[in-house]
Amino acid sequence: MANWRHFKSVSLGLLIRAASFTVIFALLGMVVQMMVVAAPIFAASTLERIDSPEGVRGALVSRAESQDADLTQSTYWVSKDGWQLQGSPGNPWLWVHDQTAVPLNVRELPSDFSIAQMVGHQRGLAVLVGNTLEHFHFSQSTSINNVPAVERVKTVLVGSDIVALAGHPRLAVVAFATSSSEIQVVDFRNPNASLRIQVDVEIDTIVWVSPSLIRALTPSGDALLFVFRATDIGGDWRRLLSPIEYEGYPSEEYLWLPLPSAQRAEPKYSVVPLIFGTLKAALLALLFSAPLSLGCAIYVGCFMSEAQRQRVRPAIDMLTAFPTVVLGAIGLFWLAPRFGEFLSALIGVIALFPILAILGVFVVRGLGWRWVRHDALDDWPLRLLPLVLLVIAVGAAAGLSGAARLPGGSLEAYLLSSGVSISHFNSLLVGIVLGLAITPTIFSIAEEAIHAVPRNLAAGALALGSTPWQGYRDVVLPLALPGMIAAIMVGFGRAAGETMILVMLSGNTGIMDLSIFEGLRSVSASLALELPEAPKTSSHYQVLFVMGLLLFGLTFIVNTVAEIIRARVRMRVRGL
C-alpha cells in the first residue's frame, strides 16, 4: 500500500516535470526556431560550379540570343519614354530620342570604357574602365527636360583583365570572366564580397541563363555552368537598416517594398520605415493613454477605500472586453468617416477638460452641496459622472463650433488651406484607438504600484495638515513613480505589438513621415498581412521573421526592464 502510494507520487511528479519541461522548452524553443528560420537571410552569397543544370530553374538560352545586349560594338540601350542611350568605346555617350532624334551628350558616363553591359531590371549600366567596374543607373526625377539622368552608384576595382561580362537580368549583379580563366561575380549591393572560381579553360563569353544560373562558353563552344545563390539582401545585413540607393530612385532611401509593382524589380527590405511606423503609433498611443490611465491610477490607488477599489478596478478592466478587432472596427466605421469633426471635438475636450473639471468640482463644492466631500472620496467618480458628461459635451461643442469658425468652415478645410491634408487612415486615429486599447494595462500596473505604498505615509502627511492631494503628491507618488514609469513601458510594449488596430486603421503605407495626419505601416501589420503570402523559403519570409524577432526582442526587453523596476519598487516599499 505504501509502495503504491509512493509509486503514484513519483510517477505524478515525473508527469508534471515532463509536461512543464515540454512547455518551457516550447516557449524558449520558439525563439530558437524563429532564429533558425530567420538566419539564412544573413547568409553570404555563393558561387558554385555544377555539371548539369538539373534542379536549377530557368531555361538555357543560345549564344545568339544572349548577344543582343552587348554594348561593346556601339549598340544602344532603350530607356523609358522613348529615349535611347548610345555609346561606343572612345566616343561620348549620347541620349537619342526615338522620334526627334536629338542627340544629347551624357557627360557623366566615361567614354574610355572597354566593355559596357546592362544590368538589373531597370537596365542600369555596368561600365568597365581600365580596372574599374562602374555601376550607373538612371533616375527619372532628376531629369532635365524629361531627359533621363544618369547617376553613378558604385565603383568596384577588379583585378585582372576582363574578357567577358554579363549583367544579371534582375539584380545589380555582374558576372565576368578574366583572361586568367577566373569566373567572378560582383554584387553591387554588397561589392566587398566578390565571388570567384578558377577554371582551367579559356572563356570568351558569359551569359546569365536564369537569375541563378551562369553559363560560360569556351572559344571551342564547350559550356560551363555556375550557380549563383544570393539572398535578396546580397549577404549584407546593413541593407535592412541603412538607406539604400535603389535603381530608379533619385537618392538613398529607406523603402519597404517586398513585392515591387514592376515584376522584375529588386525587392526592397528596409525595416526602418516599419520600425518608424511602430514607434510612431506606440508613442502617439501613449500620448493619449498615459494621462488618462495614470490619472485613473492615481485616483483609485490613492483615494479609494479597499472595498471600492475592488469594485472599480474590474470596471476599468472591462475595457479589455473590447477586443482590439472591435476597437479597430469602431475606429474604422464610426471615427474615420467623420474624423475631422471628431478631431475638432476631441481638441475642444482636451483643451477644456482640465479647466472645466476643476472648475466644476469647485462650483459643486462651493454651492455648499455636500455632494462631493473630501471625506467621501470613494464615490466621487460616480457622483461626478453627470458633471464629466457635461464637461465633455461642452468641450466637444466648443471644439466643433471653434472648428466651424475657422476659415474654410471645418478643421479639415482649414488644415488643407494651410497645406496639411488629413488622410483617411492617419496616425492620429491609430494613436487614439490604440491608446484606448492600452489604457487598462497601464492603469492596472500603475495602480498596483501606487497602492503598494503604505497608507500610513500619506496619513503622516495628512496629520501635518496637508490636503489629501498634497499628501499623496509629496509622499506617495514620488515613491510610486518608478512603478508608474514601468507601467508606461509595458503599455508601450503592448502598443508596439498590437496588430489588429494597426492593420485596420493605419492605412499600411510604409512612408516615413513625421506628420500625424499621414498613415503608417507597422512591423506587426506587415507580419500579419505579408507572411501568409510569402513563400516559405523566400528572402521575404526570412526578413519577416527577422522583424518578428526584432519585435519580440523589443517587447521582451521593455517588459524585463519594467519587471526589474517593479521588483525594486516592491522591495523598497516593503522596507517602509
Binding site: D375, N456, L457, G460, A461, L462, A463, L464, V475, L576
Partner: protein, 270 residues
C-alpha cells in the same frame, strides 16, 4: 462624570467656554459602515499641559476617539459623527471646520514610525512648507527648534541631509514627533507611540513626553498599563465604545470606581 483636576496654569488665550480644558468632548458618538456604534456618547474634558492616557482593550474605540481630535476618521468611508469636540471654543466636528488648519494645530504621531522617504530636514520642514513658511532661514531655525524639542538634535545635526529611513526606529519615532512639533501644535496626539520600539527607545520617548507636557497638551493611546501609569496625569478607560471611567491616573490605578476598570487594570481581560 469625574471632573479633571489639574492645577497647572491656564493658557491665556484658551476659549472661555472650555475654562481649563484644552479639549472638551461632549456627547460624542461615531459610526461608520462596518461598525455603526464605534463610539457611544462620550463626554470628558482633557486638561491643558498635561498628559491624558486613553487605555482599553483592542477594538474598544480608543484610537477612533483619538482620531476624532484631528478628524483623521474622515478618511474612513461613510463615517458619521454626532456630538461635539470643542477646541478653542469651537466645535471641530462642525462641517465648516477647516480640517487641514485643524490638523496643523493638533499634531499626531502614529504607532509605527512613518517618516517620509526624504531627508531628515525635509521631513521636519514638510509641515512648515505646507503652512507657507518659505524662507530657508526661518525653516532652518524652526527645524532645529523642533528637533531640539524632540531631543533628537544632537544625534542628527550632522545628518540633516541623510535619508530619514537610515535612522533607527527610535530615532525615526522622535523625528516624527519633531515633525509634528515643528508646526507648534496646541495638542499632540500619540497613538501607541512606543508599541513598535525596543525598551531603550521607549524610555527615551517617555522621557520626551514628560518634557513636552510642560508646553503641550498631550493625549496618548496606549496598550501598556505601566506606561500609562508612568507618563500620564489623567487616564480615560474605554470599553466597547464607551468611556467607562476618567480621572486622575493615581486614582484610576489605585481606586478604580468601576468593576470593568479594575478587571482590566489587574489583567483579568484585555
Amino acid at each position: 462624570m469625574f471632573e479633571p483636576v489639574n492645577e497647572t496654569e491656564v493658557r491665556p488665550h484658551a476659549g472661555e467656554g472650555a475654562s481649563m480644558a484644552a479639549v472638551s468632548v461632549r456627547h460624542l458618538s461615531l459610526g461608520y459602515r462596518d461598525n455603526p456604534k464605534a463610539l457611544k456618547d462620550i463626554s470628558f474634558d482633557i486638561p491643558e499641559r498635561a498628559v491624558t492616557a486613553i487605555i482599553g482593550a483592542s477594538g474598544c474605540g480608543k484610537s477612533t476617539l483619538l482620531r476624532c481630535m484631528n478628524r483623521m476618521n474622515d478618511l474612513i468611508e461613510g463615517v458619521q459623527y454626532s456630538g461635539e469636540v470643542i477646541l478653542d471654543g469651537s466645535n471641530i466636528l462642525s462641517p465648516g471646520t477647516n480640517v487641514t488648519a485643524l490638523r496643523r494645530r493638533v499634531g499626531m504621531v502614529f504607532q509605527r514610525p512613518n517618516p517620509f522617504p526624504k531627508t531628515v530636514f525635509e521631513n521636519v520642514a514638510y509641515g512648515l512648507k505646507l503652512s507657507g513658511v518659505a524662507s530657508a532661514r526661518a525653516q532652518e531655525e524652526q527645524v532645529e527648534q523642533a528637533l531640539r524639542a524632540a531631543a533628537l538634535w544632537d544625534e542628527v545635526k550632522d545628518r540633516l541631509d541623510d535619508s530619514a529611513l537610515k535612522l533607527s526606529q527610535g530615532q525615526q519615532q522622535r523625528l516624527v514627533i519633531a515633525r509634528a512639533l515643528a508646526l507648534e501644535p496646541q495638542v499632540l496626539l500619540l497613538d501607541e507611540p512606543a508599541s513598535s520600539l525596543d525598551p531603550t527607545s521607549t524610555f527615551r520617548i517617555e522621557e520626551l513626553i514628560y518634557e513636552l507636557k510642560q508646553s503641550h497638551t498631550i493625549i496618548i493611546v496606549t496598550h501598556n498599563m505601566q506606561q500609562a501609569a508612568r507618563v500620564s496625569d489623567c487616564t480615560a478607560f474605554m470599553h466597547g465604545g464607551q468611556l467607562v471611567e476618567f480621572g486622575q491616573t493615581e486614582t484610576i490605578f489605585t481606586f478604580p470606581s468601576k468593576r470593568e476598570t479594575e478587571d482590566y487594570i489587574t489583567g483579568r481581560y484585555g
